[in-house]
Symmetry: C2
Amino acid sequence: MDVTRENFAEALREFREAVAECDFAAMDMEMTGLYESKEQQPHRLDSADERYAKLKRSVETYGVMQVGISLFTWREDGDGGFYEARPFNFNVFPATTVGRAPVETHVGFKNTALEFLARNSFDFNKWVYSGIPFLRAEDADRIRAERAALLGGHQAMVVADDGATRMFVRDIERALRAFAASGERTLRCETANAYQRKIVHDMAARHDTLATRGIDGDVEVFRATRKEMAKLAAKRLRLLDTSIAEARGFCAVIDLLSAARKPVVGHNMPLDVLHAYAKFHCALPPTRVAFEQAVAGFLPVLIDTKYIIESTPAIKARYKTSSLEDIAPVLELEAARDLGCPLVRCHPQFAQTAAHAVMHEAGYDAYITGATFIRLLKLDGGIDLAARAANSSEHGGELVLYRYINRLYMLLGDDMAWRVGGGRSSNGDSRAALDASPVKEKGEAPTSATDDDVDSGALHG
Amino acid sequence: MDVTRENFAEALREFREAVAECDFAAMDMEMTGLYESKEQQPHRLDSADERYAKLKRSVETYGVMQVGISLFTWREDGDGGFYEARPFNFNVFPATTVGRAPVETHVGFKNTALEFLARNSFDFNKWVYSGIPFLRAEDADRIRAERAALLGGHQAMVVADDGATRMFVRDIERALRAFAASGERTLRCETANAYQRKIVHDMAARHDTLATRGIDGDVEVFRATRKEMAKLAAKRLRLLDTSIAEARGFCAVIDLLSAARKPVVGHNMPLDVLHAYAKFHCALPPTRVAFEQAVAGFLPVLIDTKYIIESTPAIKARYKTSSLEDIAPVLELEAARDLGCPLVRCHPQFAQTAAHAVMHEAGYDAYITGATFIRLLKLDGGIDLAARAANSSEHGGELVLYRYINRLYMLLGDDMAWRVGGGRSSNGDSRAALDASPVKEKGEAPTSATDDDVDSGALHG
């Protein structure tokens, strides 16, 4: 489902329902760039802290143009079942206004990143013209406080110290006093520009009984009782809140995803996770350790398919690549051949995404990532392959999966796992991670206590 | 004429001919943003050096998406005459490749700047998909030197210190030695990625008699005499030069404009001039004074219509605005009413730009700027209006124009002129500027010696 600001309200309703019942989500993003210079690029010999600083800088430098989130739900089907996918392709563009006032965001792009997207048919007009706005909660709060202070008229008035402005202020003050003393219903103040309009609004606000409204590029002053003034202020606050909610836009999707506490799968996902956090949740913590802890409260269960492939010798040896573009179609063919029926199907209303098959469209890539994850679990060289050979793969998924939870693919020296989130154990043994994770077989009692905060979505391996 | 990479070669030919015969050019640009933060915005109380630093920073932060250049040529027409306009709208995007190797450029954008362009129907797909590449001469020289060194095979080979790479290097060296000693014609080295291909090319280059070429993702090694090697290297250098010329792209237009030494008119043009210099000519000098001198060698005669309006009391009092969008249509109507025939006409092949009339399309804005300039000269409250009243406006243009040469609109305290280029006099009297400028009546002897380097295009005021 391709989502722009035009169909966002409808898509948000669908997403809310789908995320509540899904077993896991897969996520992918298209960005405006990766690293500004050679020095900023990840290097195998980086320390973990250095790497975090590089990723953080990338995320703070570049923008997100598309967020793909594909929701996967297990459907029983006679003897077996299948995963039903609902891929959403969200086109996003930083909110440009709250009400009529501009909200400015500076973003970088790499010429080669945009050209790469162009080679994959990216629609830049859709991005700018129809991108869903987004504005983080902390920015929305700051803007709300600023605007609410303006509505209250309690801010200090800053007036330029030039002859023309001084004369304008004097004339307006004279007119306001005469109006307040008169029997007239309204006073129209002619203004030449936004700056003069602001001066009139501010000056009228100093009179207890005068209110203002914009009218055809001028300002109209009118008389109001204290009660009417309060009512007017309340109405304007409501309008402000409505326009802030509109500007928050896509952040509502990430709020829902975070609140659902479902596993989120990505392919080579550190940058995706950091972008999701920094763009739609809140500013990145300054240190790596603080981020590793904070992410547990944001997306508690992360699984990286690139890490699965690279860290599982039987898979790596068999496919010789961890590129999603290369491995996904091979896995799809194998699964079709071995199973005789698809393990993954698109929800009928979402079939277009899979049919169009545009690699590097975020919605499609998210769908392919989730499908690859499901097929990889079947193939994991360890317990699952053996279990499959013995025709009893029932618990394979659970037994194997714990190894991959909250380990993001990141080459640092000979290590390839960035361990994030809660439930990490110190000595490389991550069984503890499974205990704290939502990944278990449906209908089975958890093997140990699970975090109540975490939804018990199941993964059918 | 809308120009993309598809019709650039043809447009460049037309531009070359037109710029040689034109009397002056008008220029406008669409940019990806202006100022990153409030602190970076121009302030009336800036010192001239502070302002230059702010403009320089803007230019180094943001990109140019469209360059409009409209060339104006005086055509005799029975008793009178008219200016014939040829507006070019160049869509430009930083070169992404030289040959097949990427050239990366980091650029910033403001969300509100792109939204502003969207409100004016800007086509972002045309920008990325079809923008004419550009690469400054100094960057092209650097890239040429790097690539030429690679072709010569004299660069140091840097090899990653990991087991797999060490094994690969050992195998390739063994194979190369065996091949050199054998009677085989070619040796195909299978490679898994670009890094391995580079290793093979580099290692073969160390053998005096072995040459390489890429072939279907692998590298083919073949035997070559010293003469053949030299021929091959020369051919590759020619290919490199061809692809560098392609990447230089739009810079050829600015080179032609600069070499023509014609007056260039803009509206509120400091940023346009700095962008033209920094993006298509060479890096901006670090100091304001150095730039003011350097610009004389780049575009020797600059005229800013906003400065004309703001600094001429009769014009400012009559129109009460210096916004191009507001004043241009009024001037057009007045000129049509007073003269009974248009003073400015579009060349038939370029009529589409004027007919479409899309404000904030750079080509159209350049056309309107040039047309406004011509009409403003007729109206200058000083000498020209008086001359017109006396029905002898023949020399009005020249007599008035000298006041506006190489003064760009820039509010600094009570001053509004940024004086750039050569021929400036110290005490605000700028008659000297006219003497050094190309602006004089056609067919008249120059009133004083003119710089031979400067073309004697004429402006009919």
